[in-house]
């Protein structure tokens, strides 16, 4: 596993040339899009199939399933002290809505539909509300929630989403992407060997770069919250694993970059055998702990 730790503005990273007359790309852009090392080896399809079977076997006959693993579940299961407090049932709030609205805003900015995060967020909120009121599109619980807010409540939601979107929008040089990036589409891998296992790959921005031989690979930016933590490599390896296991994507995953907007730090993992092994180990530990807690609660009952 090749790992790069960096920070915006402090260290220039070679790899992406600045266009003549233009400022150099931001360090985060370089960390995400620069080509992989020349000696980087993609994981073979036979090895991917072996990992898939290994994961299926992990959950067979395990109590506590089905297991739908997310980065959040991994973090709170393996490192419970990193959790801010007791979990409560999900409810929409300014905090839980800002990512979805912010992503819609950045998507419209990248597409050129809007010119600023303020405009993008305003468009995303008004669309969600008008779709809800007009009965257009699938039922959206966030749209229902937004439609029921007062003007001041909506302003508070917009303010949070504008800040979230502006940080992402201004951290990357969007012209450095060869093809339009995919903004905020989560992927799920459903195990073909067991209906009890699925793994989510959450990433805010997905683009492409090249491996050591010039072949295209996908790269993924994950926006992180909370403190820097040892768990982050395991969280990011889960994204790498899900991306490697997914079939049908013409570009194999090459790199996962985790970025903390609060501090400007980022950590970059290249997707190789070591990273995927860490991902499998993370799944194994999480499933074992979830199964053990299930057994414990069953015994207590």
């Amino acid at each position: 596993m090749t790992e790069l730790v960096g920070q915006a503005g402090l260290a220039g990273l070679a790899g992406l040339p600045a266009a003549s007359g233009l400022p150099a790309p931001s360090p985060l852009t370089v960390a995400l899009l620069r080509p992989l090392r020349a000696d980087h080896c993609l994981v073979s399809s036979a090895e991917i199939e072996r990992l898939s079977a290994e994961l299926g076997a992990l959950v067979a006959h395990r109590p506590g399933g089905p297991f739908r693993l997310t980065d959040y579940l991994v973090r709170t299961t393996l490192w419970p002290s990193a959790s801010p407090g007791p979990s409560s049932p999900f409810a929409w709030s300014a905090g839980t809505a800002r990512r979805g609205i912010g992503l819609a805003a950045v998507r419209s900015l990248v597409a050129g539909t809007t010119q600023s995060p303020v405009d993008g967020v305003g468009l995303a909120v008004s669309r969600a509300i008008s779709d809800e009121r007009g009965g257009r599109g699938p039922i959206s619980s966030m749209g229902q929630w937004l439609a029921g807010l007062t003007a001041a409540g909506r302003a508070a939601v917009q303010a949070d989403a504008v800040t979230w979107a502006t940080r992402l929008w201004s951290s990357l040089d969007w012209k450095a992407f060869d093809s339009p990036p995919v903004i905020g589409r989560d992927h799920w891998w459903d195990s073909p060997h067991s209906s009890l296992l699925a793994i989510r790959s959450r990433a805010e921005v997905r683009g492409s770069s090249t491996d050591g031989r010039g072949n295209p690979v996908s790269v993924h930016l994950v926006v992180l919250g909370g403190p820097r933590r040892a768990a982050v490599r395991s969280e990011l390896s889960l994204v790498a694993l899900a991306e490697a296991l997914r079939t049908g994507d013409p570009q194999p995953p090459g790199r996962i970059v985790g970025w903390w907007p609060d501090s400007g730090h980022f950590v970059s993992l290249e997707v190789d055998q070591v990273t995927l092994s860490l991902g499998v180990a993370t799944v194994a530990r999480t499933v074992a702990l979830l199964g053990a807690s299930e057994r414990g609660s069953g015994a207590a009952a």
Binding site: Q115, V118, D119, L149, T150, A152, A156, D160, S170
Partner: protein
């Protein structure tokens, strides 16, 4: 730019700062022209094309200095201690707040009884965000409670206000009306292209994340640019100590330097209680002085943690 503080003639003079009467507030006009908010905007934009260049090694040097201070604190607390999150109140307040007990460094208990100034501060900040985001505020108390009600961690504050008797609520509404009036006069309308965003949080880890310096910009405009100071920061105080608020701005400028390699090039502080403001350029001396203060305070905390 020499720091200058502006406030209405009738406002009390405090802290020995230079006061200039910007003239009686006129009727609200279109945009930012001819008003105090126009003056705030003009002072933020003044010579903005000539942004200062900061030493590219400055951020690294400041971080190394702070790492030394944090390392001493971590050494006293032990490697297994929970991460210590430090904000401006603990780092910049009077040193005697750092009483030599472990309680100082313990997490603050959840509050249910809030001093009136704290209540006002939270509510005014919520209204400030609304003003920046939408340009308008309705009934101040209702709007502020609606906004804070969307943040689960403000539930205690909402309950506290809900328990106020009629007279206290009337006084609170009057106070908010007064303060939002000042903010309407002072707060520029930033075009979306300025990228205005509120409550931009900073969390700078030191000593491998075992000490975290925290802060929140009330309002940032501009986009971070590698190698250039390109941001303006506007902070809000609603009647708290003016000198503390100005020092806290320098603290935030230091954190931004550690985050993106450069500080904001200009800082503004709005006092919604009396309607005054100050705009100043950030200079390397501010950052060095603040880093020196923090290292000293970290050493004090290390002693307090015995």
């Amino acid at each position: 730019m020499v720091p200058v503080t502006l406030q209405p003639r009738r406002a009390p003079q405090r802290d020995g700062l230079v006061e200039v009467d910007p003239g009686p507030p006129g009727p609200p006009g279109p945009g930012n022209t001819g008003t105090a908010q126009g003056d705030v905007l003009a002072r933020l934009r003044d010579r903005s094309a000539q942004r200062p260049r900061f030493d590219p090694g400055l951020a690294g040097g400041l971080r190394a200095w702070l790492e030394d201070g944090a390392g001493a604190l971590v050494a006293r607390r032990g490697d297994d201690a929970l991460p210590l999150h430090l904000g401006p109140r603990l780092l910049l307040g009077p040193a005697d707040q750092n009483s030599p007990s472990r309680q100082t460094l313990a997490l603050a208990p959840k509050r249910e009884n809030y001093p009136s100034q704290v209540v006002t501060s939270y509510l005014v900040h919520a209204l400030f965000r609304q003003l920046v985001t939408t340009g308008s505020v309705g009934d101040p108390l209702t709007d502020a409670l609606d906004a804070l009600g969307l943040h689960p961690n403000r539930a205690g504050l909402i309950r506290h206000v809900g328990r106020l008797d009629r007279r206290a609520r009337t006084e609170l509404r009057a106070e908010l009306t007064d303060q939002i009036g000042h903010l309407r006069e002072l707060t520029p309308h930033f075009a979306p292209g300025w990228l205005p965003r509120t409550d931009d949080r900073l969390a700078i880890p030191l000593a491998g994340g075992r000490v975290v310096l925290c802060g929140v910009f009330d309002l940032l405009v501009g986009a971070p640019a590698p190698g250039q100071a390109s941001l303006c920061a506007l902070q809000l105080t609603s009647g708290g100590p003016w000198a503390f608020a100005r020092t806290a701005l320098h603290y935030l400028a230091l954190l931004e330097t550690l985050r993106h390699g450069n500080p904001p090039f200009r800082l503004g502080l709005l006092d919604s209680a009396v309607g005054r403001y100050v705009i100043e350029d950030v200079q390397q001396e501010h950052l060095r002085a603040m880093a020196s203060h923090l290292v000293t305070r970290l050493a004090l905390l290390a002693g307090a943690d015995d």
